[in-house]
């Protein structure tokens, strides 16, 4: 498996009035294609900050320290920016200058946000704008990155001839590998985007075969007016839209230009929602967030994240605000998507039992560092780091009759003045002298299983 995301020595600090809050202190992480990586740890260990740094959505007082590397698909984005070195971040630090750099990074990464990396947030209740329709909120993500695809979909329906439809029906009825044949067909006839629409109709479970055939027949669309057509062609060919940008501001004309794309976005949104097992997707796109339940809203958030076929989806505690049954459904959905779409997930959660359901590997975070990372079995059954052991012991077990819940003594360190040496040493039961002075290096204990602790290795 190839690595899609590599994070090297990532340090993200926050400038506050009462000192510098060191949220991430040298995170090393790699994410492979098509895997689910769990990120676990206490509150304040920097899980969410790590997610936000990958998205470049950090708040304006955040500082990315020089030497940090976020390499996404072999491109190191941070190397273009003049980041501040560690020594310079002290009491006299000029936050204004850093804010400018952070803004540059935010703007620069806007083109990958949502397209290559996207994120699902914790609270489905507040993550959707209450005043906008579900369909519009999905369409917006599509318009931001894949308006070309939308235009191609419309044009493919317009260019569809009766013979093409007959051929499609023949493929649908007789072919063994419908998906592949349809792809070939659409490439041959230059009807990009028609295959998705046919497949969506075929994959629907609530329709009879006759009804499906009739729907494929009715895919054919009439020619639009010349203005709309030329606009769509320009977008489909990825040319600059020049004058149309101004025409899009005129309310009546907007209906025939951008409005056509928005309408197509709603169509695509219906397909996305149906893929995520939302019943009556045709109605749901016209609803507002308050009309949906928590689980449905979380699915809509996932649909928004999936809209542009990203390579990585960061799930920031997507199930924490949901009840157990909905939680299970969402987890099912995520494992399904993993196999279907070959997307890599970073699943952030403080709940190890949730991570156990879906993850391939788990990384344990403490004090802004990844203290242990490894395949899920190794983490659960052969855990090495004292903190991981403590975490696993703290999961209450139903099978035992427990009087007290075990926990790790002490609290998360104050990240304004983090302890010297190993972050965990004040709470560690196996603390040694070396722990107090030196930061442990990452050791590959067994294959793929890394740990940062002096107890292991030489």
């Amino acid at each position: 498996m190839s690595e899609i995301l590599t994070i090297n020595n990532l340090k993200v600090w926050f400038h506050t009035r009462r000192g510098t809050f060191k949220a991430l202190n040298g995170v090393n992480l790699n994410l492979r294609k098509g895997e689910v990586l769990g990120l676990a740890g206490e509150s304040g260990s920097g899980k969410s900050t790590l997610g936000l740094s990958i998205m470049a959505l950090l708040p304006s007082n955040a500082i990315i320290v020089r030497g940090s590397k976020i390499i996404l698909k072999n491109r190191d984005y941070l190397k273009y920016f003049e980041l501040f070195p560690e020594e310079k971040i002290d009491r006299k630090f000029k936050i204004k200058k850093n804010q400018k750099i952070m803004k540059h990074i935010r703007d620069f990464l806007a083109k990958i946000r949502g397209k290559e990396v996207s994120m699902v947030f914790q609270e489905p209740m507040t993550a959707l704008n209450p005043l906008l329709q579900i369909g519009y909120q999905i369409t917006e993500a599509l318009l931001a990155h894949s308006s070309i695809n939308l235009a191609k979909r419309i044009l493919s329906r317009i260019n569809l001839t009766e013979d093409d439809v007959r051929e499609i029906l023949k493929i649908v009825k007789s072919s063994k590998n419908v998906e592949k044949d349809l792809n070939e067909f659409s490439k041959l006839k230059k009807l990009d985007g028609i295959e998705d629409q046919v497949l969506y109709i075929l994959n629907r479970k609530d329709l009879s075969t006759i009804r499906k055939e009739r729907m494929i027949y009715s895919l054919k669309e009439k020619m639009k007016n010349p203005l709309t057509m030329s606009y769509l062609k320009k977008i489909a060919e990825n040319k600059s839209i020049g004058i149309y940008r101004f025409l899009n501001r005129i309310p009546i004309l907007k209906r025939y230009l951008k409005g056509v794309l928005i309408k197509e976005g709603y169509r695509k949104a219906i397909e996305l929602l149906a893929m995520l097992n939302i019943p009556h997707a045709e109605k749901v796109v016209y609803m507002y967030p308050h009309e949906l339940s928590g689980g449905m809203r979380q699915r809509v958030s996932i649909a928004i994240a999936l809209a542009n076929n990203p390579d990585i989806i960061i799930l920031d505690e997507p199930t924490s605000a949901l009840d157990v049954i909905v939680q299970y459904q969402i987890l099912q959905l995520i494992s399904e998507l993993k196999y279907k779409l070959n997307i890599s997930f970073i699943f952030i959660s403080h709940d190890l039992s949730v991570l156990a359901e879906v993850c391939d590997r788990i990384a344990i975070m403490y004090g802004g560092r990844i203290v242990e990372i490894g395949p899920i079995d190794k983490i659960f059954y052969e855990s090495l780091h004292p903190y991981t052991k403590g975490l696993l012991r703290a999961i209450p077990k139903i099978s035992k009759d427990i009087k007290t819940i075990e926990s790790i003594p002490g609290t998360v360190p104050d990240m304004r003045n983090p302890p010297n040496g190993c972050m965990f040493h004040p709470r560690c039961p196996y603390v040694m002298d070396v722990c107090r002075n030196k930061v442990p290096k990452s050791i590959e204990y067994s294959k793929d299983h890394f740990v940062e602790c002096f107890l292991y290795g030489e």
Partner: protein, 351 residues
């Protein structure tokens, strides 16, 4: 379609409110006693039997011998037919509804122009000072709005007048329209223009662009003064609600989609932040429609506030009660409009 039904239901619901309002005004009229009601209509030169006869006639005309609740319906019938009684003030004597036709158009014009100014000045500044939080722009807006807040209204008006009319001479000093332009105009009779009574609209209807422009030109300065007084509150309110909205999860979600920052602000943040500001704005406009006394006096515009104050000073019951009734109706309508705006802006409002 559902919104349409909701509007009809809301309109039906204001009927009880209006009945309550008319009852209160009616009681206020009768608290003064019957003599004061007929005083306006009685010829003061009559004496003896003739005077008694005239009083008897007036008692019969106003049904003053009937029980009070029957009198209410007679009075209501009279009000619905457009008869609000008589007024006698130094600036105008005659029927109240003629007085309203004379003074109200100026107030409406003033309220409309100034509320449009408040809207187009307030929204961008409020939104931008929240987006560019703690920037030079934000800080200077803060200083300016608090200065405007702290200044008494008449001082703002006088400053505007001195700067733009006296020194720069961009706008006329006073008046609602240049009287010379109205000489010999067929649709302008005895200070009242026809058919809508609002000079600007009537001029446009009759194709007199000159007069329309002149009237707008006269109204800009007083409206600017009023707008500067009212805009400070809107800016502060909008800024704080905008800051609150920008902190919400759905704004972060919108950014995570990769849409441009201007779209985040214009589509996601602004509309949400406007909802609390709309309340303050609509009641502000309703207040303006009740007359801005100080502005009307300073800019010498014969508006309804000016007339009401004259009625108050001269103990003129007809004028006071007439304007009370009208102002009550305006407030009720304003809350109706507010509900409709809410329903249109926010899908969470159930209807």
């Amino acid at each position: 379609m559902k919104l349409w039904l909701y509007i009809i239901r809301r309109i039906l619901l204001i009927i009880p409110t209006l009945i309550g309002l008319t009852i209160i005004v009616f009681i206020l009229i009768h608290v003064r006693g019957n003599n004061l009601i007929i005083a306006e209509y009685l010829n003061p030169h009559l004496t003896g039997a003739a005077r008694d006869y005239a009083i008897q006639q007036l008692y019969q005309r106003f049904h003053l011998n009937d029980p009070l609740f029957i009198q209410y319906f007679y009075w209501l019938y009279q009000v619905i037919n457009g008869d609000l009684g008589l007024t006698r003030t130094p600036i105008y004597s005659g029927p109240v509804n003629t007085a309203l036709a004379l003074f109200y158009p100026n107030t409406i014009m003033l309220a409309l122009v100034s509320s449009i100014l408040i809207w187009i000045i307030g929204i961008p500044i409020g939104v931008w000072s929240a987006v560019k939080r703690d920037s030079v722009f934000d800080q200077s807006t803060r200083v300016a709005t608090f200065t405007l807040y702290a200044m008494p209204a008449y001082m703002v008006y006088l400053l505007v007048l001195i700067i733009f009319a006296v020194y720069l001479k961009w706008f006329p000093i006073s008046g609602a329209v240049d009287p010379l332009l109205l000489q010999g105009v067929s649709w302008y009779v005895n200070g009242i223009s026809y058919p809508t009574h609002i000079i600007f609209i009537d001029a446009l209807l009759h194709g007199d662009i000159n007069i329309a422009l002149n009237s707008i030109w006269h109204f800009i300065l007083p409206s600017l003064g009023i707008a500067l007084g009212g805009v400070a509150g809107i800016i502060r309110l909008l800024r704080s609600s905008m800051l609150e909205v920008l902190d919400q999860d759905y704004i972060r979600m919108a950014r995570s989609k990769g849409i441009s920052e201007s779209e985040v602000i214009n589509i996601h943040a602004r509309r949400n932040a406007l909802i609390p500001a709309v309340t303050s704005f609509v009641y502000g406009v309703a207040g303006l429609l009740g007359g801005v006394v100080v502005a009307e006096v300073i800019f010498n515009i014969p508006g309804v506030g000016y007339w009401t104050v004259q009625a108050l000073l001269n103990n003129d019951a007809g004028g006071i009660l007439g304007s009370t009734l009208i102002f009550g109706i305006i407030l009720v309508t304003a809350s109706l409009i507010l509900d409709i705006i809410y329903a249109a802006l926010d899908p969470r409002v159930r209807y």
